[in-house]
Symmetry: C2
Subunit: 349 residues, 2 copies
DNA sequence: CTGAAAGCGCTTACAG
DNA sequence: CTGAAAGCGCTTACAG
């Protein structure tokens, strides 16, 4: 009997009058065991309530069937979970289900490089790291420890260094900007976050390139992701000037469309515009990438991208499992194409 | 060297010219080892990049330092994650952090009784099961397997049978109903879900008792949680009669306040009221328990409860860890008191 | 203060 | 077709 009181393979062997080896063979379909012996052993195993120990099995396979998900943006937010950003719940949920389909389970771990990280955080066979930062120490650590991992988004300082799943950030940005133009925009301001991940970097680059192409000066307002909806007043001061005050801090003419990278920023800009009596979408178009829920239910509702976190998760799990099993990673196209969800904020009557 | 290529305790022992026993003692502060020996071993361990194997350690401790979280309501929703219900993300995130503080990691697992559940889903030392159903097979399974677990909410058919953390559903309901009366309600309709968990059952019971006390006939509309915002038209038909049609399906007079157990139901009722031109809060008060994000940003915004999933998670982790370590569960009050977030939908000018 | 030995529960060559 | 033995990487009485 196990320390915990559960029967072991020995108990089954004894009850069946065979050796542990035979029980192992019978129960795992390995080796050659007579059919009736197999059946008898299976029956007895069920009778005594035998459950193989995943730990013991893990010891010589040196694999436990565990995947770890590290949601990197949470680590800049400290213990704070941003409300409304269900992107990550969708991702974690989908990853958990995808893992199960491969016979794996998913653990949710914090930054494993933090001092005091429990040993158990390191039992995963492979890691999935979402939105790694520039020169992310987590990736460095995993690479040093030779723990297999895949990223969702890439470390902007080490592109192509590690296996990655990507939501094509270039396409994303173009998709939204083009839509804004079609919806009537002439001059597009951009509100961007401060996290140094590939999503932010690529989106900025695409915006800059787009500006050159469209002969517009970039009109960029930067604010921490964690500021969330609070970004509204600052952003509008920047783009339109303080209320009843002088002109825009930006220097140039005011934009007629604002694109916010995060959904919470978009919600904040939208709310502040309403407060100031700027009519959306008539006077100002607003769109967000990576929509938050707030954008769905606000008045007006706000056009955003759906980045399809479920699909990203599924691809990431596929790769992580292949890596964990030291199998070659299937070489298929894993680019996830975002879709535009057009809402009131960019729909003029 | 480990199969994976990482150094083992033997490698360190060899390099230090001592036995594995001494390395183990030195690194874990067990037994008695001379200080300088300890220091030398620590240095060498760091040099060769030694990391103890959590699996090997887990084998004789028969504990791995892993907690499993089963979010039961997800299992009625199939692979579908309800948008806007960030209750569960807050819960999972807080549980993950609380686990780390105890030296544990958190796994997210689906129904472990499902056929095809990976072995790895069973390596957890203890389980946390949120909102178990009536006679929940997951609890039965865990109890049979003698795996320690704690529930958040209780199995309504087996109250007090298992350790549980509770958000006091009675208090919750009374809190909202009393608030609605203060806000001007005379007759309160109730929209409730179909999941057979203690939260739903207790809330109903409290509503029924409240009706008796306040001399009102219960005015109850039941709809599946998964219907979400779509519940609006059906609910309003029930309470007010179909548009331009006959009277309320409910039979009695129409309510002047509606309390919805789920935030998504509240959002649906709120939206449908707006569509029909019923003015909220002037003609109709609306409130929800367990708010979703939609309620925060809708027009009008909707009064809801904050059930404090973070606190529930923290308590659940405390208990789960105690159980995993076969320690007595600290006997402190774990009732989490919800707070009312009053918003436009119940605030008359 | 240090080490040889047994053991955690399983799997896997290998020998019969 | 079946089993004895060794081993996965660690810990823990126990003996020196």
């Amino acid at each position: 009997m196990q320390a915990s009181g559960r029967p072991t393979i020995k108990d089954v062997a004894k009850a069946a009058g065979v050796s542990p080896t035979t029980v192992s063979h019978a129960l795992n379909g390995k080796g050659v065991v007579r059919r009736e012996t197999v059946e008898r052993i299976e029956r007895i195993a069920a009778d005594v309530g035998y459950r193989p120990s995943a730990i013991a099995r893990g010891l010589q396979k040196s694999r436990l069937g565990l995947l770890a998900l590290v949601i990197r943006p949470f680590n800049t937010l400290d213990t704070y979970l941003p409300t409304g950003v269900d992107y990550f719940l969708r991702m974690a949920g989908a990853a958990s289900l995808a893992a199960m389909e491969h016979g794996y389970s998913l653990m949710l771990v914090d930054d494993p490089t933090k001092p005091g990280t429990p040993l158990s955080a390191r039992v995963a066979d492979a890691y999935i790291v979402t939105e790694p930062f520039e020169n992310d120490p987590v990736l460095t650590y995993l690479a040093e420890e030779r723990v297999p991992f895949v990223t969702v988004g890439t470390d902007p300082a080490r592109r192509d260094a590690f296996p990655a799943i990507d939501a094509d950030s270039q396409d994303q940005t173009a998709l939204v900007l083009d839509h804004l133009v079609e919806a009537g925009a002439g001059r597009i301001g951009f509100v961007i976050g401060t996290d140094r991940n590939s999503w932010t970097a690529d989106s900025y680059e695409c915006y800059a390139a787009w500006c050159v192409e469209h002969d517009q000066d970039p009109l960029l307002y930067t604010a921490p992701e964690s500021l969330g909806e609070q970004v509204g007043p600052g952003a509008l001061d920047f783009f339109f000037g303080p209320e009843g005050g002088s002109g825009p801090a930006s220097g140039g003419p005011a934009p007629d469309a604002i694109y916010c990278l995060t959904g919470r920023h978009a919600a904040g800009v939208n709310a502040e515009a309403a407060r100031r009596g700027i009519r959306v979408p008539e006077q100002l178009l607003i769109a967000g990438a990576s929509g938050a829920l707030q954008n769905m239910t606000s008045r007006p509702s706000v056009t955003v991208l759906d980045l399809h976190p479920e699909e990203l998760a599924k691809h990431a799990v596929d790769v992580a499992v292949a890596l964990a099993e030291h199998r070659p990673v299937p070489d298929i196209d894993r680019t996830v194409v975002p879709s535009l969800i057009v809402r009131e904020s960019t729909t003029r009557a």
